[in-house]
């Protein structure tokens, strides 16, 4: 078993342990497992948010804007000066993206653990039987109950409306994909602080993220097993709650033009 397989197996076993504990409801198990992951990665998220805010504030800093203007034509010197200012202000420019990078394997492993647990093919079932620890009564657990609300968590979700046949939506109205896209959009918007600087690159990147990310995750939710969509929605809602609890949610960002700072009185 490769180190990656061992990593995924830890996820599978935890997920199934929760599933067994709560009376074999895989949808609730995914939600609780996502909460557990969020709690464990809370410090990382908090530090990411703090760093992102510091970087954002930096864009409005007078020294920062001055060196941007002064060394606009000398990229090498500009980079040196930027690093100097970061050092002076005690900011690590990589600390805002490092937590995201650390979380990426977690997202991949979680996705794999959901699909592996649902074991929709003979090979997947065989692999599952070999990755479950002896502390679980595997023969009683298999097959997992993949029904949750109106969904089969092993299949892409859609609500079929009688008489409504849309050729490019064979599974019906993808309600979860819409919710995933919507909550991702809200989360991205809430975490984008207002900016007054028209040359603020990080704000421009955030703006792009608020378009690309909802589309990307919405597409995942549309095409992959709906268990993943349950994870995305739970994760987004928890993310929004975390920002709100830390008092950093920019609720005005949800409104058109809301990312411009309030006019000085």
């Amino acid at each position: 078993m490769s180190p990656w397989d061992i990593f995924v197996s830890i996820f599978v076993n935890t997920l199934l342990w929760i599933y067994n504990l709560i009376g074999q409801n895989f949808g609730v198990a995914i939600i609780l497992f996502t909460i557990l992951i969020k709690v464990l990665t809370w410090p990382l998220n908090a530090s990411q948010l703090k760093s992102a805010k510091a970087m954002q504030d930096m864009q409005n800093d007078k020294d920062w804007q001055a060196i941007q203007k002064k060394y606009a034509k000398d990229k090498e010197k500009l980079a040196q000066e930027q690093m100097r200012v970061y050092k002076e202000k005690g900011i690590n420019p990589f600390s805002s993206c490092l937590p995201t990078l650390i979380q990426l394997p977690v997202i991949f492993a979680l996705y794999q653990s959901i699909t592996r647990s649902l074991a929709s093919t003979p090979l997947a079932l065989l692999q599952l039987t070999r990755s479950i620890g002896s502390f679980l009564d595997v023969s009683a657990l298999i097959p997992l109950n993949s029904r949750f609300l109106w969904m089969d968590l092993g299949l892409p979700e859609g609500i079929l409306i009688p008489g409504m046949n849309i050729s490019f939506l064979p599974n019906g109205i993808p309600s979860l994909a819409i919710i995933v896209a919507l909550t991702t959009y809200i989360q991205t918007k809430l975490t984008t602080p207002p900016t007054a600087n028209p040359n603020d690159q990080s704000a421009a990147m955030s703006k792009m993220m608020s378009v690309y990310m909802p589309l990307l995750l919405g597409w995942f939710a549309l095409t992959f097993p709906s268990g993943l969509a349950v994870y995305f929605i739970t994760s987004n809602l928890l993310g929004i709650a975390q920002y709100a609890m830390m008092g950093r949610a920019n609720w005005r960002g949800l409104l058109p033009g809301g990312n411009k700072p309030a006019a000085a009185k």
Binding site: L104, F108, P122, A124, S139, M205, M209, W219
Partner: protein
């Protein structure tokens, strides 16, 4: 700014690609299904069904003409009474197809099931009994000229991965949800159901008024068909995946721990000591000329005569999960993740030909 946008887009595209690649998405993800007529072998392998000539291992046709990600085939194809080929898809498009065995052309299809076709249908005369993972048994009458050949359904619930069996009167189905069903095919009703201790991935075997079923509960059970009571239980070391075969009052089957058993069908007592060759045994064995042929995960093809040690006939590259099939004087083996997709052995285990991994 344009560069930043491009970097962001590429990063997200990479994330999408990684997630798709890592996730076991519905692309060829399991071992192939295999069937053979007198002249041709049919391999359900991922996005295609292949017809391979038995005389020389040459490919005759491939279905569909333009394979895509939506159709995935891995259940064993079966033949209708007039020799047409039936095979269901386990992809996002879960259609059951009937193909012309000579050309691979589609002659009929059914797209009304809600989930994957993992179990092979059972053909009894003109009637086709096809269990789906949506928990429904679909019944078709192939003698009906019209495209709509569905004559009824039986809602059973559960996930069906194994081909049903019949004793000529009742139909028997096993589900991953630990259940064994007896269905009256005329009335299209459930006659009885029995719950076992584990999931059932293999087909049941009906003989002598009993139904023999192996499960993940590490037992082989004999159920009296008339009373639906468990007559005897034979314990095993590992989980049972493939169903048993019966010859002369002896049941033969293997388990996931690599044990191979021979037990008396009358009382479930060992007919010979179990043996443990070289790897997990998932596929149902094949009975051939007084010998039992079985395959292991480690790629070995064994022959066994009751009371003797198993004889290694051939060691192949790849994992052997697909049940071996006999056709004419050949034993057909479909390795998974091996050098070849299909290997034809003679009765002594010597290779006659192989079909390469790369489709022609």
């Amino acid at each position: 700014m344009k560069t930043n946008r491009m970097i962001l887009f590429l990063a997200l595209a990479l994330l999408a690609a990684l997630l798709s690649a890592c996730g076991g998405s519905p692309v060829a993800t399991t071992w192939p299904g295999l069937a053979a007529s007198e002249q041709t072998a049919y391999l359900a392998n991922g996005s295609v069904v292949l017809a391979i000539r038995l005389s020389d291992g040459e490919e005759l046709w491939s279905f569909p003409e333009n394979p895509g990600a939506k159709l995935i085939f891995y259940s064993n194809p079966v033949f209708t009474s007039d020799g047409q080929l039936l095979v269901g898809s386990s992809g996002a498009d879960h259609t059951l197809f009937r193909l012309d065995p000579e050309t691979g052309n589609e002659t009929w299809s059914f797209s009304g099931a809600d989930n994957h076709w993992v179990a092979s249908p059972l053909v009894v005369g003109e009637i086709v009994y096809a269990p789906n993972t949506d928990g429904t048994l679909y019944i078709f009458d192939m003698s009906i000229e019209e495209a709509d050949k569905l004559t009824g359904t039986v809602e059973l619930g559960g996930r069906f991965w194994a081909q049903p069996a019949t004793d000529g009167t009742l139909l028997f189905l096993t589900s991953l949800d630990h259940k064994v069903f007896a269905v009256d095919p005329q009335k299209k009703t459930i006659v009885w159901e029995v719950e076992l201790d584990g999931a059932i991935a293999g087909s049941p075997l009906a003989a002598d008024g009993k139904l023999y079923v192996g499960s993940f509960g590490t037992t082989l059970e004999a159920i009296d068909i008339a009373t639906h009571k468990i007559v005897w239980t034979a314990p095993t070391e590992g989980w049972l995946w493939g169903g048993p075969v019966l010859d002369g009052g002896t049941l033969y089957f293997g388990d996931l721990d690599g044990n191979f058993y021979a037990i008396n069908s009358a009382d479930g007592k060992p007919a010979a000591d179990s043996t443990k060759p070289d790897g997990a045994i998932l596929a149902a064995p094949l009975f051939l000329d007084g010998q039992v042929i079985f395959v292991t995960e480690n790629g070995t093809v064994y022959s066994l005569t009751l009371g003797e040690d198993p004889h290694s006939m051939e060691k192949l590259d790849g994992k052997l999960y697909t049940a071996p099939v006999t056709a004419g004087n050949l034993i057909l083996i479909a390795p998974f993740q091996g050098e070849f997709l299909l290997v034809a052995l003679d009765m002594d285990g010597k290779e006659e030909w192989h079909y390469p991994m790369e489709q022609k």
